[in-house]
């Protein structure tokens, strides 16, 4: 909290009355426990940040709506959709990457990287995510644009809302809600395309043959998009989203935030009034109190009150203020990205300070680098087949009629390649033992066949005929690809009765 600002512009203070004990009724009727929403009518604005926001909106929504239709040829045994979450097949496809359920740690890594990226953004330039990238912001922006297109800008909407329900107002409202619902419906429609072959599903949806779950999810997402982007808007950020609370705890005086430079703006006043003050040799600020920054704000706040929970830092007030400043010939960026420490520096008449390299930015960046490179390493070095072994628990070993000892194992072989493969099974660590695979004839060369993109379990029996195995002998199963001669191994123990 910038103390200088608070001192200079004290709030209306009412001294608390003397406390007296009064066991009166709980509700005296004048304490509002629930506040009605103050409707926000954001005004349209043009400028640098508006252009950035339009670009981000087009790029992100473009990716979201079109990505399911991007094809990626993987060969005959796999889907050709570039990004696909295949729940029945338990696979996630992302261009050249295919993730199996047991590789869910990649998602853990992604979530860590995402969280750290959010923190890093916040440490560098505040709520970049909230202001530009968050789906809530992007869709709200789109819905606001539709509203403006149909019902007019801030003033027209305010006048219409204050007036009676004319035919025109009803018609415009109907068109607006129809368009909103269309966008919402497309949003839900694009969502389900990530979970099935997009062109097929589009056809099935159109002809009514898509699974019920697809229609259900389109319905759910149509409702949430329509409600959250059309009706809830800034209330999602203020009341529902946990990030503003976390963000407030993570920020510091070095972080750039959308800031009203009160050291330059105050005392505010009209052009005429500030001229008079200047002529009298009194201080006068650059803020002309035109309220443009308030009018364009999508959350309906006054940025001049300092950093606030509700502020998503979308930068539209910067554009609004800049256009006014340009028109009246004063320097722009009375509102701009600035940090608390800079304002203090300026008030002290010292150099501007911007410290990008700080312990927290270094920490976040290095966590991102470490987790990111670890994931990349695992991704690049992972095998396209593997084997795991589970020893039978009951019985741990079996005595055969001729006194030999046998152990049973379950071998689980993963073939991640999209073609069937054959592996030769061999055993190390127990010379003279006999290895059998259930379903394969004894004495065969134990060739294990696994289908494309599949896991297959084999029951393997190892029999020891030397009659004197130790209670536990370490053994290793090797699988060798018949064609490529790549090898994967799994270790376990061969158990025998104690003191036999």
């Amino acid at each position: 909290m910038d103390t200088a600002y608070a001192e200079r512009k004290p709030k209306e203070v009412v001294t608390p009355k003397k406390e007296g004990f009064d066991p009166g009724p709980h509700d005296d009727g004048n304490v509002p426990l629930y506040a009605a929403r103050k409707k926000v009518y954001p005004q349209s604005v043009t400028g640098t940040f508006r252009r950035i926001k339009w670009t981000v909106l087009i790029v992100t929504l473009g990716i979201y709506y079109l990505l399911p239709f991007v094809r990626w040829n993987r060969g005959p045994n796999a889907p050709d959709q570039a990004v696909l979450i295949d729940f029945p097949g338990r696979r996630f496809y992302f261009f050249f990457i295919e993730i199996w359920p047991q590789e869910v740690y990649f998602f853990t890594g992604l979530l860590i990287v995402a969280a750290m990226a959010l923190f890093l953004m916040n440490a560098v330039a505040g709520r970049l995510w909230c202001g530009y990238l968050c789906p809530q912001t992007v869709w709200t922006d789109l819905f606001l644009a539709i509203e403006r297109l149909v019902e007019g800008d801030r003033r027209a909407r305010m006048i219409a809302d204050a007036g009676p329900w004319t035919f025109e107002r009803v018609a415009r409202a109907a068109v607006k809600h129809f368009l909103w619902l269309m966008v919402a419906w497309w949003t839900g429609g694009a969502w389900v395309l990530y979970f099935a072959d997009a062109p097929t599903l589009v056809w099935d949806l159109a002809t009514g043959y898509a699974p019920f779950i697809a229609y259900l999810w389109i319905g759910i997402l149509t409702c949430t998009t329509y409600l959250l982007a059309g009706h809830m808007r800034e209330q999602v950020c203020t009341y529902m989203c946990p990030w503003p609370r976390i963000q407030a705890a993570l920020t510091d005086e070095h972080a750039l935030n959308v800031t009203y430079r009160y050291d330059r703006g105050e005392p505010r006043g009209s052009i005429k009034k500030s001229e008079q003050l200047r002529q009298q040799g009194l201080p006068a600020g650059d803020c002309v109190d035109c309220m443009q920054c308030v009018n364009v704000c999508p959350t309906g706040i006054d940025i001049r009150n300092g950093a606030q929970l509700e502020c998503i830092q979308c930068g539209l007030c910067i554009d609004a203020c800049d256009s006014v400043m340009t028109r009246i010939g004063r320097p722009t960026r009375l509102i701009g990205y600035d940090s608390d420490i800079n304002i203090e520096q300026r008030l002290l008449g010292e150099e501007r300070r911007f410290q990008l390299i700080r312990p927290r930015t270094v920490l976040y960046a290095s966590i991102i680098a470490v987790v990111g490179s670890l994931m990349l390493y695992v991704l690049l070095t992972r095998h396209d087949f593997s084997v795991a072994v589970i020893h039978d628990r009951n019985p741990v070993f079996v005595r055969l009629t001729d006194g030999a000892i046998r152990n049973g194992y379950t071998l689980r072989v993963l073939n991640k390649r999209l073609e069937p493969r054959r592996f030769a099974l061999s055993l190390d660590g127990l010379a003279g033992s006999v290895v059998e695979v259930a379903g394969l004839p004894l004495g065969s060369s134990n060739i294990l066949e696994v289908g494309p993109d599949q896991t297959r379990e084999f029951r393997v029996l190892v029999s020891e005929y030397t009659f004197s195995p130790a209670p536990s002998t370490a053994i290793t199963f090797h699988l060798t690809d018949i064609e490529s001669e790549e090898r994967a191994s799994a270790s376990d123990n061969f158990r025998a009765p104690q003191g036999d």
């Binding site: 007296g20 004048n30 049973g408």
Partner: protein
């Protein structure tokens, strides 16, 4: 809780207070949005919908069943039927394929083993152990020793009709109670017990009269266990020369068997399980390790 009249403004935050004071700490009034309250009312209305469509209120001897007559038992019956229908492509093939064919087809083998493992855990594990490891009196199904035969057709017969069970085709044959029914003298039983142990090359006291034991064995036991004690699968008579003992190889245990006989029962599962499940169980047991060709 002390209470103040009117709503003051907190000096530090500029926020209105509720007027509630606890030990001098005043509560700021940060009102919830109005729609939040509406949502709360909506959830109350929604809950009334539950009362109407689902079972909700207890009555004296029953309960309100709800508009849909929903019942958790009915739900699981439907789920099971759906599961059965989903498995039908594979279970139908299991039903139509002879056992040898299932063993030869890798897809059917994998399915049958998984199906059989689940059925085994539900039905067989209480006696034979979770992995078919067996306990005293209940054979280990992983080894290569079979009382009634370890070929596919032997195993399926045993599972279908049981052993000494209430079934017309059940496997019959039991160890008589030589001692209890006075078929053998007590002293003779002790000699036979030692002789039987010697058949499996187990240690016997040096002064044992093995010749007498052999004579007694020939008179009483060979009809079932065979001339050299190798057993007879037709009668479920175990091989006495190998290393596997259903009840144990100690002299006391063998004497116990000779005195009181043996005749454990396995249920006939065709009365409880459908034939597809029995076939899957057969394949599972056969591939545990002891299956014979």
């Amino acid at each position: 809780m002390a209470r103040q009249q009117g709503n003051d403004i907190d000096a530090l935050t500029g926020t209105e207070t509720t007027g509630h004071v606890w030990d001098g700490i005043r509560e700021l009034n940060t009102p919830l949005p109005r729609w939040w309250l509406w949502l709360f009312y909506v959830t109350i209305v929604w809950s009334i919908g539950y009362w109407i469509v689902y079972p909700a209120w207890p009555l004296v001897s029953s309960y309100t069943t709800g508009y849909f007559n929903w019942h958790s038992r009915q739900a699981i019956v439907e789920d099971l039927a759906a599961l059965k229908a989903k498995r039908a492509t594979m279970t139908d093939r299991i039903a139509q394929t002879p056992l040898e064919g299932i063993l030869a087809d890798s897809a059917l083998l994998d399915f049958a083993r998984a199906y059989g493992r689940a059925a085994f855990a539900d039905n067989c594990a209480p006696c034979h152990g979770a992995g078919g490891g067996g306990v005293k009196g209940y054979p280990n199904l992983n080894d290569d020793d079979w009382l009634w035969g370890g070929k596919l057709e032997d195993i399926v017969q045993t599972i279908r009709h049981g052993i000494r069970a209430a079934d017309n085709d059940t496997r019959q044959g039991s160890m008589p109670a030589f001692g209890r029914d006075k078929m053998m003298e007590r002293g003779d039983i002790l000699v036979v017990a030692d002789y039987v142990r010697s058949l499996a090359r187990l240690q016997v006291p040096a002064n044992t009269d093995l010749a007498k034991g052999q004579k007694l064995f020939a008179e009483n036991c060979v009809s079932c266990h065979g001339d050299n004690g190798k057993g007879n699968r037709e009668l479920g008579a175990p091989d006495l020369t190998d290393q596997i003992w259903l009840y144990g190889s100690s002299k006391d245990t063998i004497i116990e068997g000779l005195m009181n006989g043996r005749g454990a029962v396995m249920p006939a599962w065709n009365q409880r399980l459908d034939d597809t499940t029995i076939k899957a169980l057969t394949v599972y047991v056969h591939t545990l390790g002891g299956g014979e060709k």
